[in-house]
Subunit: 265 residues, 2 copies
């Protein structure tokens, strides 16, 4: 594996672009290849077997580029497919859940943490296991928020209905004394203005992007895989179904100049 190779990032759709954005900011000289499996989204409602099969196809495509590392920028795929993908892959593979739990652990003062995620991520209990592996002193509660992805995809980032939906979900929490909320889905950081408006400034909001970028930087350094060239990194975007760069997620994060190349998996 060579340091000049790009880093591969995939997600079931475009939510993983929030992770790519953080990785690019932390590692500006690295090249990235992004794959959005939009033909098969959402993963969040599908069974573990189906998600593992889809994730492996995405990884195989990225390895064919080739890439020096793979980031699973999708909580659902990380929750159910990280282990099986790692077993079948030579290059290092990182998921978003451990990084999200690490960020939550660093942020909390009282050890009361609320995780918001898709139904399948909640059902997998992957966040509960990740938090438990870091400390046994936390009280971690999960709430499934199936409407937040469609709201992000509609571009209703800062919208009265989004705020009302978030309020409705938060009202389901059994323990109200959480000081930290983990955004356990890569779409959710797009809704930050609505989260902030509902939750006020006392509660800490964390997501995996920044923590994952730090983890990746350390790992690349340890393996001597940091890009040695000095030029700004290049980005390349693939999707499994046509995507317009005018969709709100893309234009918000990367402007409208992004070009998606179509790939049939």
């Amino acid at each position: 594996v060579k340091d000049s190779l790009p880093i591969g990032v995939f997600d079931s759709g475009l939510g993983g672009l929030t992770v790519l954005e953080e990785l690019r900011r932390a590692l500006p000289r690295e090249d990235f290849v992004y794959l959005g499996d939009v033909a098969r989204l959402p993963y969040g409602t599908k069974s573990g077997n189906v998600v593992r099969r889809y994730a492996q196809r995405c990884v195989d495509f990225l390895l064919g580029q080739p890439v020096k590392a793979v980031i699973i920028a999708c909580n659902t795929a990380t929750a159910v497919a990280l282990e099986s993908v790692r077993e079948q892959t030579q290059v290092p593979v990182y998921g978003v859940i451990h990084a999200g739990a690490f960020a939550g652990q660093e942020a909390t003062s009282n050890g009361r943490i609320l995780v918001l995620a898709t139904e399948s991520t909640v059902r997998s209990e992957a966040y509960l296991r990740a938090f438990h592996s870091l400390s046994d002193k936390n009280l971690v509660e999960q709430i499934a928020c199936p409407l937040l992805v469609p709201l992000a995809e509609a571009g209703w980032f800062d919208h009265p209905i989004t705020k009302e939906v978030i309020r409705t979900y938060l009202a389901q929490a059994k323990h109200k004394d959480y000081d930290t909320v983990v955004l356990g889905c890569t779409h959710y950081p797009l809704l930050l203005p609505s989260f902030r408006a509902v939750m006020g400034e006392e509660v800490r909001l964390v997501h995996s992007g920044a923590a994952l970028a730090r983890e990746l930087e350390q790992e690349l350094t340890r393996r001597s895989l940091v890009q040695s060239g000095g030029a700004p990194g290049k980005l390349r975007f693939f999707t499994t179904d046509p995507v317009s760069s005018h969709v709100p997620i893309v234009s918000t994060l990367f402007g409208s100049s992004v070009e998606f190349e179509l790939v049939d998996l």
Copy 2:
């Protein structure tokens, strides 16, 4: 083809159960086989080519049962795949869009019609063509409502947020004098209480289920395919990914005694 065979019904998910419910009510002695392609849902965000491929696989599965007729209980699949499926299928194939337009045409007095549907159904303009084939005197406007399917799947059938979302979509209408609203997605009839609350009693709300049941009954009679036995019809349910009978759509329409058989397409 024999009259004793069941009628095949498929949808990208479980929304088509609203159509099955209407068909079963109108044709209580017929047997039905339902297939929900939940592993690949939603069709509404995918390209025409992908949807045509998925729809053909569903039809091939139903023909293997075998069945005497196929109902595409999905507006998106009807919009983009009805013609290609018909070309490759020996038994009669019916979609929901013509029936929905027919119901709208019968309901309107002033010829002002609003069609609410998924983004891909709107983009296909299939409702505009279907209305135009019935009359050139109507003014038909379409509005894409991507959040309504997730709201129906969340079971928020009669919910303040659902009403607010419907209000937000209706406010996008350029022509406000419509007297008829077509629910152009098989999920939307589940939200009827919310629609009724927002729109009042003057506006007529139509969906394709009842009209499709009438069309199917006439066609079966014409082709001498009406079930000649006197016993109540049987139902069989298949899905491409595991589904709980406790999800709100299923329990609302069919109670919790429904059993889904898993099929890998």
